[in-house]
Amino acid sequence: MHEWALAEAVVKTAVQIAEKEGLKQVTEVTVKIGELQDVERPIFRFALSQLIPSNFKLVKFRLLRSKAKLKCRVCSNVWVFKKTKLNKDAVEAIHFVPEVAHTYIKCPKCGSPDFEILEGRGIWLESIKGAK
């Protein structure tokens, strides 16, 4: 449900960009969704559809998936986060604030919580297309 708040941010940003680029009709908005935050796509998509202004009537939202790639700062191990390895509460906490991954996830090789989130954290507005 808090997907709405994120969808609102996406729409607001897309509207700003469309204005800046002088797009009269926006036809495509591409959003990247990181698997760490694991936004619920049906809710997110529905929220987007409800929040768009009239010059977005023809828009198609492309929701891309981005694997959560983590890199250990201690031993340089790179791995892909799998939520099935965590309990439900931890997955939910990370869903709300992805940074608490550092509380629940450790490097599988050396056990350190000091890792970098290389890709796939949360939502990103990737691109926007339209007609002037």
Binding site: A5, L6, A93, F96, T103, Y104
Partner: protein, 240 residues
């Protein structure tokens, strides 16, 4: 590629009249105690108040409030629960009692996330408990919430006051309003800090004596509000 979250923050805070960050360059000077007690005092005065713990790696305000078993409600965002009349937000809802070892970019990201998804209601004051130091949290807060005002806490020690000079200098350079300086845990009867504060052309709000009773009031807001410390902070609430 754009991070869309930053764009929604202003809208999330637009129903809040004033945002006050309780801050200090040195640690352990009483920011969390002051921030929590100030927020509670403002509630007692009939204002609508939020309290946001921005000390992500070493949060304290949830301990001072003694909260347990409450969680934000998930609606079209996160609705902070009402605790002793305060809308209360902290990362501990998500990190629990375990450590959240975060580096600078992580604290920035967590701050942006919470500001972007927290649905505060109409508030007179949002009080922010800052982590110690003049670093990421201060700079991020100013960048993301440009209308924030700072309340600076120090002790009587020159070591603490030295950081008041640095913090206030930075805030001035960035045109951020400074409400004034509080001298906390005062044990001797000198006017040194007051004089030095005024030399910096800053408002000296007041001194708060060392109060041996407050340790036993941690976790019990009613008890905390009955201390002489809280009486002083209540007078601070009147001036802000």
């Amino acid at each position: 590629m754009v991070d869309p979250r930053v764009n929604i923050i202003e809208q999330r805070l637009k129903r809040i009249t004033r945002v006050i960050a309780v801050s200090s360059g040195k640690g352990g000077v009483g920011k969390s105690m002051v921030a929590t007690t100030l927020a509670l005092s403002l509630v007692k005065r009939g204002f609508k108040v939020g309290l946001f713990d921005l000390d992500f790696t070493s949060p304290s305000t949830h301990l001072i409030l003694g909260i347990e078993g409450v969680q934000p409600k998930e609606e079209k965002g996160l609705v902070p629960p009402l605790v002793y009349g305060l809308e209360y937000m902290s990362l501990v809802y998500y990190s629990g009692n375990q450590a959240a070892p975060l580096r600078g970019t992580d604290t920035s990201n967590a701050l942006i996330e919470l500001l972007a998804v927290t649905l505060w209601s109409e508030l007179d004051y949002l009080v922010i408990d800052m982590p110690p130091g003049i670093g990421d949290a201060v700079l991020d807060l100013i960048r993301l919430v440009p209308r924030v005002e700072f309340l600076i806490v120090t002790t009587s020690s020159l070591l603490a006051f030295e950081t008041v000079k640095k913090l206030s200098g930075l805030l001035r350079d960035l045109n951020v309003p400074i409400l004034g300086v509080l001298e906390n845990m005062k044990m001797t009867d000198t006017a040194d800090i007051k004089r030095q504060t005024e030399l910096l052309d800053l408002k000296f709000i007041m001194e708060i004596p060392y109060d041996p009773e407050i340790e036993a009031a941690i976790g019990y807001p009613e008890k905390l509000l009955a201390t002489s410390f809280a009486q002083k902070v209540n007078a601070v609430a009147q001036t802000v």
